[in-house]
C-alpha cells in the first residue's frame, strides 16, 4: 500500500471511531522530520489522553529530535473501537507525526509506567505487525526497547522486548542513540548495544544492569517546546520538573528508591523555563513537578518569582507534605482552586512508623485546619489499606480521620459548604522497595476492609472512594512476578485483555483463565512472600540502592521504627550516592 493510499484509508476509518483526534497528530509544537534517516517511535501504551502528558516521553522526544538526522514520532495504544476497525481494514499501527507504519521505524521505545498497561504492550506490537516475541523478529523489524519505572522488574515482559533501558534517559540514552545512528540493520545495532551497562538484554542471558542517573540535572534537559495536546488530555498544563528524587524513604514507594538521590534546579532557572514553556504552549496553568514539591529548597523563591511576573497564573504544586506550611504555600500559589489533596497514606502513628511516613497526628489535623482556613471547600485525603501488619485499628483510623476532618470542617467553615473526600487504595508491594519481600494482602481481606469502611464511614459531607480490588490484585501479581508470567500475559491478551486499568474494560475472566492455565491464580502470585535469601526476579537490576539497605529498612518496618531523611538527618548509607552522584540541593 502506498503512503497516500494508507492515509486515505486511515481517514475513512477515523470517520467511524470515537475521539478521532487521538490519532491525527498535528498539535502545536509537534516536530516533523520526513527526511530523517533514523526514526524512533515513542509509545505510551495507553490512550492518547493518558500518554500525551507523560514527562519522560517529552524529554525523549526533545532528546531524539535534537539530533538532525533523527526523528521522534509518537504512538499510543488505539482505543478498542479503533483497534478493531484497523484489524478489520488491515491497517497497521501508525505514528502520529507522519502516519508512517510503526513497523518501519528503527527503534520502538515503549514506556512502562504501570503494570496494568502490560496487555496493551502486546496490543501495540500486534497492531504494528511486529512479532510479539523478540526471538521471532527479523532484520526488517524495529528494535523494541522498554523504559520507565516498571521496567525495573523486566521479567514478566522479558520475551517481548529486545532490551530494557534502566533509569533516566538524559545522559545514558545518548549511547543507545549513537548505536542506532552508527550501525545499520537490526543485528548490527543489537551488537552495538550489547555492552551498554544500562540495558538488560533478555536474549543474551542475565547479567547485572545499572540504573542510569542524570547526574547534572541541568535545566537544558527540561523540555520547553512541548507538544500541546488537544483538549481531551488528562493534564493540559505547562510543567517544569523542579526536583528529581526523594529521600523521605516511604517504604512502599518505588519512586523513592528509583529516582535517588535528590537533585534540584535553582529557582531562577525554573522561573525562566516555566515562563518560556507557557509562552510557547499557550497554557494558562503551570505545575512545578517533583515527587514532593514542598521539599524543594527553592520552592518559595520559585513561586514568588513566577507570581511576580504573572500574578493571575494558576500554579500547581503536586505531592505536598502533610503540614501547615505546604498547605499555605499551595493556597498562595493558586487562589482559584477550591480543592486540596493531602496524602497521609496511613491514619495511625503505628502504621506511619511501619511505612516510614514521618508525620504526626498533630501535623495532619493542623494541615486539615489550615486547608479549611485557607478557604478550600473540598478536602481530599489519600490512604492505603492492606499495608503490612495492618490491624483493625489502622482501618478504623481512616474512618476516624475522615470524621475528624468533617468535624474540623464544620467548626472552621461555620455552616459554610464543604466536603471531605477519603480515598483508600489497595497497597501493592513493588520491586526495589523495602516491602518487595512482602506478599500483598489477600483479596478477602481487602474486600472485607472495604466493606467495613463503607459501613462505618458516614456519608454526610464525606465521600469515600475505594479502588477495584480485582485490578489491584492483578497489578500485584504482575509487579513482582517472574518470567513465567510472560505466557500468562500473552494468553490473557489473546483472550481479549487490554486497557486493564480502565475498570469498564477489565477482562477478569481472561486473566483468571490465563493464570489457571499456568497452574496458578492471580491471588497466589500477588500474595506470594519472598524470603530474605530468595533470588528475586529483578535482583540483577541495580537501582543504586543496595539490597542490604532495603533489607535493613524492612527490618526497621517490623520494629515499627521510621528512618530519617538523609537530606537533613545524615546519610543512611543506602548506596545511591557515589562519585559525582549525590544529593544535590540548590543551597
Amino acid at each position: 500500500m502506498t503512503q497516500a493510499a494508507l492515509e486515505r484509508r486511515i481517514e475513512s476509518v477515523l470517520e467511524t471511531v470515537q475521539k478521532p483526534s487521538r490519532y491525527i497528530g498535528g498539535e502545536a509544537n509537534q516536530v516533523q522530520k520526513p527526511q530523517a534517516t533514523t526514526v524512533v517511535a515513542l509509545c505510551y501504551p495507553d490512550a492518547y489522553e493518558v500518554g500525551i502528558s507523560n514527562q519522560a516521553l517529552q524529554i525523549l522526544y526533545q532528546q531524539v529530535n535534537a539530533r538532525p538526522a533523527m526523528a521522534a514520532e509518537r504512538v499510543y495504544c488505539p482505543w478498542p473501537d479503533m483497534a478493531d476497525a484497523m484489524r478489520r481494514e488491515g491497517l497497521p499501527l501508525f505514528t502520529l507525526e507522519t502516519w508512517r507504519p510503526v513497523r518501519e521505524v528503527d527503534l520502538l521505545g515503549i514506556t512502562l509506567q504501570a503494570e496494568l498497561t502490560y496487555s496493551n504492550v502486546l496490543e501495540v506490537l500486534d497492531l504494528a505487525g511486529i512479532p510479539l516475541r523478540a526471538a521471532d523478529r527479523g532484520e526488517g523489524d524495529p528494535i523494541v526497547v522498554a523504559g520507565g519505572p516498571s521496567a525495573s522488574n523486566p521479567a514478566p515482559l522479558a520475551p517481548f522486548f529486545d532490551a530494557f533501558f534502566m533509569g533516566e534517559s538524559e545522559e545514558a540514552f545518548e549511547d543507545v542513540l549513537d548505536a542506532m545512528a552508527g550501525a545499520a540493520g537490526r543485528a548490527a545495532r543489537m551488537a552495538a548495544l550489547a555492552e551498554n551497562p544500562h540495558l538488560d538484554l533478555p536474549g543474551r542471558g542475565r547479567r547485572d544492569v545499572e540504573r542510569a542517573i542524570h547526574t547534572e540535572f541541568g535545566i537544558e534537559t527540561q523540555p520547553i517546546e512541548v507538544v500541546v495536546p488537544y483538549s481531551s488530555a488528562i493534564f493540559s498544563r505547562a510543567s517544569v520538573e523542579v526536583m528529581r528524587g526523594c529521600t523521605r524513604g516511604c517504604r512502599f514507594c518505588h519512586a523513592g528508591t528509583w529516582y535517588r538521590p535528590v537533585r534540584e534546579r535553582p529557582a531562577e532557572q525554573v522561573i525562566e523555563a516555566g515562563l518560556a514553556q507557557l509562552a510557547c504552549t499557550g497554557y494558562d496553568e503551570l505545575s512545578l513537578t517533583s515527587l514532593a514539591t514542598s521539599d524543594y529548597t527553592d520552592v518559595v523563591p520559585a513561586i514568588e518569582g513566577i507570581k511576580e511576573r504573572m500574578p493571575d497564573l494558576h500554579l500547581s504544586l503536586p505531592s505536598n507534605r502533610v503540614d501547615t506550611g505546604p498547605v499555605a504555600m499551595t493556597a498562595a500559589a493558586n487562589a482559584r482552586q477550591s480543592s486540596i489533596t493531602l496524602a497521609p497514606e496511613a491514619a495511625t502513628q503505628r502504621m506511619r512508623d511501619i511505612i516510614c511516613k514521618t508525620i504526626t497526628d498533630e501535623m495532619i489535623e493542623n494541615a486539615i485546619e489550615a486547608a479549611f482556613r485557607a478557604g478550600y471547600t473540598s478536602l481530599k485525603m489519600y490512604f492505603m489499606i492492606g499495608l503490612p501488619r495492618e490491624t483493625h485499628a489502622e482501618v478504623q483510623g481512616i474512618v476516624d480521620l475522615g470524621l475528624k476532618a468533617r468535624e474540623i470542617g464544620r467548626r472552621v467553615r461555620a455552616g459554610g459548604r464543604f466536603s471531605v473526600h477519603v480515598s483508600a487504595s489497595n497497597f501493592v508491594p513493588k520491586p526495589h522497595t523495602p516491602f518487595q519481600w512482602e506478599g500483598m494482602s489477600s483479596r478477602d481481606q481487602l474486600v472485607a476492609k472495604q466493606g467495613y469502611m463503607r459501613r462505618a464511614m458516614p456519608t454526610r459531607q464525606i465521600r469515600l472512594s475505594l479502588h477495584d480490588v480485582r485490578t489491584s490484585m492483578l497489578e500485584g501479581a504482575l509487579a513482582r512476578g517472574g518470567e513465567e508470567l510472560a505466557d500468562v500475559i500473552e494468553r490473557a491478551w489473546r483472550a481479549g485483555a487490554r486497557f486493564d486499568a480502565w475498570t469498564e474494560m477489565f477482562a477478569e475472566a481472561a486473566w483468571e483463565a490465563a493464570f489457571a492455565e499456568a497452574g496458578t491464580t492471580i491471588d497466589e502470585v500477588a500474595t506470594r512472600e519472598y524470603g530474605e535469601w530468595d533470588e528475586l526476579p529483578w535482583d540483577h537490576v541495580r537501582s543504586g540502592v543496595s539490597k542490604e539497605f532495603l533489607l535493613d529498612e524492612w527490618w526497621q518496618s517490623r520494629a515499627e521504627v521510621a528512618t530519617g531523611d538523609c537530606r537533613w538527618d545524615g546519610c543512611a548509607d543506602c548506596g545511591a550516592c557515589f562519585g559525582p552522584v549525590r544529593n544535590k540541593l540548590v543551597h
Binding site: 477515523l14 478521532p20 491525527i24 498535528g26 502545536a28 504552549t281 499557550g282
Partner: protein, 214 residues
C-alpha cells in the same frame, strides 16, 4: 475588545471536536501573545463563542468565533499572529471587530457542499424534492428516542452540479436540518441511498449585517 474570527478547518483537523476546536483557537491566541478576557464569577472562563458547533469530520471554509481579547489590537495583526500559531489544517480567513450581539445568537442559515457519488439521479431527486410539500427523515441520536423531522422546511436553496450538492439550510427556533439528512432525503425520493464522500460547510450567514449595532 471582541473580535470576530472567520476560520477554516480542513484536512485532519476536521477530526477535532467542537470543544477541541475552541481550545485549539484559545491556545493559538495565547501562543501568539494575546491576553484573553475572562468571564466574571467563581469559575472565570475565557470569553469565546463559536457561531455554530461543527460535527466531527466536517470541514469548514468559514466558521465564526467571537473572542474577547484584553487591550486594543489591529484586526489585521490579530489575524496574522494567530495564523502563525494555528496547528496544521486550521487557517484564519478574516478578523474584524465584532459589534452587536454575538454571532452564536444570530445564525440565519448555513451553506454546505456535499460531495456525492453520481450514481444517483440527482436532478430527478431535486425535482421531486422541489415538488414535495414535506420530506421527512428519521433522526437518531445516542441515548435518545428517534424522531421524524421534516427537512424540507429548513432547506432554502438546493442545487446539483457534477459530484456535489450545494445547499442552504435555515437555522430557526424550531431547529435545522443536517446536510447529510437532506442528502439522504433527496436520494430517497428516487429510491436511492447516497454515498457521501465529503462534507464541507461553506458559509454561515448571520441574521443582520456583520458589525451592526442592535
Amino acid at each position: 475588545m471582541t473580535y470576530r474570527i472567520t476560520f477554516a478547518v480542513a484536512g485532519r483537523a476536521r477530526f477535532l471536536s467542537h470543544l477541541e476546536t475552541v481550545d485549539t483557537l484559545l491556545g493559538a491566541l495565547r501562543r501568539a501573545g494575546f491576553d484573553i478576557a475572562l468571564s466574571k464569577g467563581m469559575k472565570p472562563r475565557p470569553v469565546i463563542s463559536l457561531a455554530l458547533p461543527r460535527a466531527v469530520g466536517i470541514e469548514t471554509l468559514a466558521d465564526i468565533a467571537d473572542v474577547e481579547l484584553r487591550g486594543d489590537h489591529e484586526p489585521l495583526d490579530v489575524g496574522e499572529r494567530l495564523a502563525n500559531h494555528l496547528p496544521m489544517g486550521m487557517t484564519v480567513i478574516a478578523v474584524e471587530p465584532a459589534t452587536g450581539k454575538q454571532a452564536a445568537s444570530r445564525v440565519e442559515s448555513v451553506t454546505y457542499r456535499v460531495e456525492v457519488a453520481d450514481d444517483v439521479d440527482w436532478d430527478a431527486g431535486l425535482a421531486a424534492f422541489a415538488a414535495a410539500e414535506a420530506c421527512e427523515v428519521v433522526r437518531t441520536a445516542p441515548n435518545k428516542a428517534s424522531k421524524r423531522v421534516d427537512v424540507r422546511r429548513f432547506c432554502t436553496a438546493l442545487a446539483h452540479e457534477p459530484g456535489a450538492l450545494e445547499m442552504e439550510l435555515a437555522v430557526t427556533d424550531a431547529g435545522t436540518a443536517r446536510p447529510e439528512e437532506l442528502t439522504q432525503a433527496v436520494a430517497a425520493l428516487v429510491g436511492a441511498t447516497p454515498n457521501i464522500e465529503r462534507l464541507v460547510r461553506t458559509a454561515i450567514r448571520l441574521r443582520e449585517p456583520v458589525g451592526a449595532h442592535t
